[in-house]
Symmetry: C2
Subunit: 396 residues, 2 copies
């Protein structure tokens, strides 16, 4: 059983700040500074080029991938870290399309994170004519998985509303129709237990700077199902995805399995921060985390709904939501700026959504109650200057 | 005039190590650890998500790009950092091909870094049929720039031999034939003054962990000529290349100029290390650096040639070489391992090349003489066990 009073002790939480934006950028774990300093001084500084071998830098993308793999239900050896999430979306989508060569449709939804759609658009402009990105409302996805769909490109949890797709059902539906699936786990990894293998997901990608707390610009990850691992064709065929990178052959030969999804030199210093963050995650029971997140989320919803006219846009049903709570309000922008001015950090997403990340690793009832009280006070009273906060520049 | 005894003082050089592998991974600047620690603790730790604005993280890829831009002769505002070099090659190549839509040939050479060729191969598999990667010997490139070539994809300095292409002449030849140019500056940036604008180069890319000393996994850079800046189509259309990333539109609209070559969230911690490294470069006169590098290189060549049977593979003519010196020897692998065992770090590239990076920022005559003496001693005497070093695992 995970002791969340203990995990909270492992983070630096600035005095006077109540942080409900860990779904944008997780806070700094206490161990990170020393780990990063060690990598910079004791590894790079002392070992120079030889650190690639002596400090095992070259092996870390796979090792870190597997530690994330536990949180997302991946088979060991099928997850690797590197690059950014947008790059990993490109890799997964390009590989999935190649594995389904007789079809031309990518199906996504309007609740997807825009970058995933942009990346798909960019890929389509490279491919021969005839490919199509079909974007439907999130609730219509299942009905639109038809026999012409090559790949579904879906983010499991909607970044604005917190609405969660049914990964098992949609993956099964896709497979029944002969389509493959690319799942974006940006708001899933570290938010709850994902079961990629159990759902027979084909490809998955995600980032590590949100719930996983690996820091700004932390590397992304990619998972390829063992079913496709040896057939997936890497569109971004960088040297570290080569079967023998240091042979310096001029012809490309894809590496074994997930190794082929590596591209260039891994970000060693950012990897040190990821490693420190995962030391905390290694101790976390994902079911306990989920139970706690739902308790805290329900508590926040109940208090806010009882005292304000904010409209909950996150589904109430636990099976249909991630680990954020979002409310709509016509004055949402100004309310969020006023809240941040009081030290309660959430964020705002246009046109009217106030978004709060519920992260039990470092939030407890006291934080939830404090955040709710401040929010209620702002919405329910005239103790703040609406016009002033409307004009404020956004800080999150 | 740059004082190279001063720049040397700004690096941590481990006791007993003579480092001639800065063309693989530059050493640690003294200021880097504190700068990285500050970004981790004082920025991420204290400001959390608000640091994206309050600490100017979002603006850094452009600001850092321009500081590199000075070293490579780029017009201000046309260089940006991010991702890895392989990703940047993909972006530049894909954009260049789109700008020359009636042609189908990418021309490269067998001396190119293999990853550039792999990336081109990977891109070709995405594109409609008919595209071709044509690879010729480095000395035959000019003759093969013909009317069917869409883009030349060349690394200015050969990573093995140190042979340098004539950027001005080849770019002119390409333009005369209606082709565009992508220059890889991996072994140029920080090695000597590059003159992208003066050569009318179209696209350029490079990395920052070699001569620029930004650390393992440091971000890459990309340059797009002002002539193409508003027409270059981004193949990796990530959200930070969008005209208004935080509007979260679901349709892609390319950002202004070089901004469109941004993809995902920039690596903030690695950027801190790059920033500290560039503080040194800001003080360096590139002509003085070049003069000094040639002096030190000639000194090394003269001493080694006078006392061994190593065969120089780097051109003697300064205009035809970069800032490394490479020798061939049938026992090259064992010799390099023996040299490293004595604390002189260079590296070996198959089949028979010993490679030495000449980096005046932190190397002087004493280092050059010491390295040469050790190399001479190993090659010219039997004071080492050839068989033992043949079996040693490579450490660089």
């Amino acid at each position: 059983m995970t002791d969340f009073t203990q995990t909270r002790q492992q983070f630096i939480l600035p005095e006077g700040v109540c942080y409900l934006d860990g779904n944008s950028l997780g806070p700094l774990p206490k161990a990170t500074s020393a780990r990063v300093a060690q990598t910079v001084s004791d590894e790079w500084g002392a070992h120079l080029i030889t650190a690639w071998n002596s400090c095992d830098w070259m092996a870390k993308p796979r090792a870190l991938g597997d530690r994330i793999g536990r949180l997302i239900g991946a088979e060991p050896g099928h997850t690797v870290i590197g690059d950014t999430l947008s790059i990993k979306v490109f890799q997964a989508l390009a590989a999935a399309l190649k594995l389904n060569p007789d079809r031309r449709v990518i199906l996504s939804d309007t609740g997807n994170f825009p970058s995933d759609l942009y990346i798909a658009e960019g890929l389509l402009k490279l491919l021969p004519v005839g490919y199509e990105l079909r974007t439907v409302a999130p609730e219509d996805v299942a009905a639109h998985i038809t026999e012409d769909v090559a790949v579904t490109l879906l983010t499991e949890v909607d970044y604005r509303t917190g609405r969660r797709h049914d990964m098992a059902a949609l993956t099964k539906r896709a497979h029944d129709c002969g389509a493959l699936t690319v799942w974006d786990l940006a708001h899933s990894a570290g938010a709850f237990a994902v079961d990629l293998a159990g759902c027979s997901a084909d490809f998955a990608v995600g980032c590590t700077y949100k719930y996983l707390n690996a820091g700004p610009g932390a590397p992304a990850f990619i998972y390829v199902s063992p079913r496709h691992a040896e057939r997936a064709e890497p569109a971004l065929a960088g040297w570290l995805g080569h079967k023998m990178p240091f042979a310096f052959d001029i012809d490309y030969k894809a590496g074994d399995g997930i190794d082929r999804m590596r591209v260039g030199t891994p970000p060693v210093i950012q990897m040190a921060a990821l490693e420190a963050a995962l030391d905390i995650w290694d101790t976390v029971d994902m079911q306990a985390l989920r139970t706690r997140a739902l308790e805290l989320g329900d508590r926040f919803i109940a208090r806010v709904e009882a005292a304000t006219d904010l409209v909950l846009v996150t589904p109430r049903d636990p099976s249909q939501r991630g680990s954020q709570v979002s409310f709509a309000h016509p004055e949402g922008y100004a309310i969020m700026q006023a809240l941040i001015a009081r030290g309660v950090i959430g964020d705002f997403r246009a046109p009217d959504i106030l978004r709060f990340g519920i992260t039990p690793l470092y939030l407890d009832e006291t934080d939830i109650d404090h955040a709710a009280d401040q929010l209620i006070d702002i919405v329910a009273t005239d103790a703040w200057d609406r016009e002033e906060f409307k004009q404020r520049k956004a800080v999150t």
